[in-house]
Amino acid sequence: MRYLMLVLSTPDAPAEPGDVPRIEDWVRDTYDTGRAVLGDRLRPPADAVGVQVRAGEVIVTDGPFSETKEVVAGFDVLDAPDLDEAIRIAAAHPMAYTGALELRPFWPLGLDDGVPTEA
């Protein structure tokens, strides 16, 4: 199953988070085993660009749509056999100690299904 793992920075970071794992180790362990397929850090909310179409017009706005205390600082797409494995991977991420991780299971649209590849 695929999960989008949102890496969130939260305002209430613990003062003494304890032994935080190194991100390099996490990336190696997760990507080398094929448990993650794509991921990166994201520019801060100030660099966010909103796009909407209203009454046929493209409306571009500055900044994020939702003003939340948590900021999406990065993401990874996990490919895990089940939720517990995804939780295990998330719990090993350094941001689990100082921020928060949110796992969102994919809800496949199945747009590729049933379409024959031959002409």
């Binding site: 089940d82 939720l83 199945g110 747009l111 049933g114």
Partner: protein, 450 residues
């Protein structure tokens, strides 16, 4: 009831969770397993009459339920094949793929069926492994990713085979509400990819705590029914019976997790608390606090078992909150009268428990113990330190405990004010009756101008 009817009922009581768990392991689909287990019991009613009760009813039921599941999955797979073929044909004919009816369902049933048929569980179905299956069932139902109410209801239903209507009755909610709660919970199991398995080692410790927490919520729901007046047209009986179910479930989980002293500790705690159930209401339907309970109504056999189970748990020298709470309950159980209670030891145990849990409710109970040990004024000082906790802001037991301490300290006017405050916050009928009575007794003894 006929002999066969009785045999099926007995098998249902004894074997339901094992049958369900075995099929759920094979299919990885709790919903399907539930349906097929139910069908197996229905089939048993018909065929045992004709062929006689099998030597091993549990094995018979498991095989029957499993075969039903396999049949259904094969049918679903065939259906899925047909749908896929139809979609391809429609595409070739120039239609839009997936535009036909039912295609809006993003996880077509066939996909699930094919996946489930491939499920490793079918291959693993060989030697009977009922305990492992039960453990998987419990961990799945109690997964912390599920909403708590759903976990509690699903665990109850899975372990007892109670119908949705029965579960609804026990939790005092309409049947439609409970049906929705169960459906949503099972849907989330599927949607989030919760597997029917024992969690990985890294997560096991927390997951055991999660299971025990669900059992304790279940127990509390039942046990609280014993301090509520039994006048709501039978609902109370259904609710009180949850206490039995919770004790049975705790017994099972303690057996399944022999290396987890907290599981044994929880069983001890439940046994010791539950032993007092008959003493929790007086003849007028007013709750009786522990100090004033008629101790001859406490179940001696259950206390004896609870104490023995607690000793087993403590022998591991790995204490935890449930063991400490059980140890406190044991001290109450051992005291011949309320005055004989070892408040020094109880206070010390509350210190330990508070350290472990940092729970304001524990802190409140500790204030009561300090009040007994070192006097009511000392108890009030401790209570003042607790009172600021936001979790207790609307908790009626905070002013109620303060009122009791004030009364014992010889400050009846202030006590009366606190009882009134508690009455304004209380949301349980039983406690309301008790507070009213306390206030009435107090008012009668106070000078008229108050």
């Amino acid at each position: 009831m006929t002999d066969v009817g009785q045999a099926v009922s007995a098998a249902f009581r004894d074997e339901w969770p094992r049958v369900l768990a075995a099929v759920a392991r094979s299919t990885g689909d709790l919903d399907l397993a539930e349906d097929c287990a139910q069908e197996a019991f229905a089939v048993a009613l018909r065929t045992w009459e004709r062929d006689g009760v099998p030597d091993r009813p549990g094995a018979w039921l498991t095989t029957t339920a499993r075969n039903r599941a396999l049949d259904r999955l094969r049918r679903r797979a065939v259906e899925a094949q047909k749908t896929a073929t139809a979609a391809r044909l429609a595409y070739r004919a120039g239609g839009v793929p997936g535009a036909e009816a039912g295609a809006a369902e993003p996880d077509p049933v066939g996909d699930t069926a094919v996946r489930t048929l491939d499920h490793a569980g079918w291959a693993a179905v060989g030697p009977e492994e009922p305990d492992g299956d039960l453990l998987r069932l419990v961990f799945t139902c109690c997964h912390p990713a599920l909403p708590l109410e759903g976990r509690v209801a699903l665990t109850l239903r899975s372990l007892t085979g109670m119908t949705t209507a029965q579960v609804a009755r026990a939790f005092l909610v309409p049947e439609t509400t409970m049906a929705q709660r169960l459906t949503r919970t099972k849907r989330k199991i599927h949607a989030t990819g919760i597997s029917f398995r024992v969690p990985p080692a890294e997560l096991l410790h927390e997951r055991v705590s999660a299971v025990l927490a669900v059992l304790y919520v279940l127990f509390t729901q039942g046990y609280d029914g014993w301090s509520e007046p039994a006048d709501d047209a039978g609902g109370t009986a259904a609710r009180r019976a949850l206490g039995d179910d919770a004790v049975r479930a705790a017994r099972l989980v303690a057996r399944l997790l022999p290396d987890e002293p907290e599981a044994t500790g929880l069983l001890a705690l439940l046994l010791l608390q539950y032993s007092r159930r008959e003493a929790r209401l007086d003849l007028d339907g007013v709750p009786v606090v522990l100090d004033e309970q008629d101790r001859s109504l406490w179940r001696e056999d259950e206390i004896a078992e609870g104490l023995a189970v607690l000793d087993d748990a403590l022998a591991n020298h790995r204490p935890g909150p449930y063991q400490v709470q059980a140890a406190i309950a044991a001290l109450h159980a051992r005291a011949a009268t309320a005055d004989d209670t070892d408040w020094a030891e109880i206070t010390a145990l509350y210190d330990v428990l508070l350290d472990m849990t940092r729970s304001p409710v524990v802190a409140l109970n500790r204030a009561v113990a300090v009040g007994r040990l070192r006097g009511s004024e000392a108890g009030l000082i401790v209570l003042d330190e607790v009172a600021a906790a936001p979790e207790l802001a609307t908790y009626h037991l905070l002013p109620a405990v303060r009122a009791d301490l004030l009364l014992r300290a010889g400050r009846p006017e202030e006590a009366a004010a606190e009882y009134r405050r508690a009455l304004a916050q209380v949301d349980r009928e039983g406690d309301r009756k008790l507070l009213r009575r306390r206030l009435a007794e107090l008012s009668a003894s106070l000078p008229a101008e108050l």
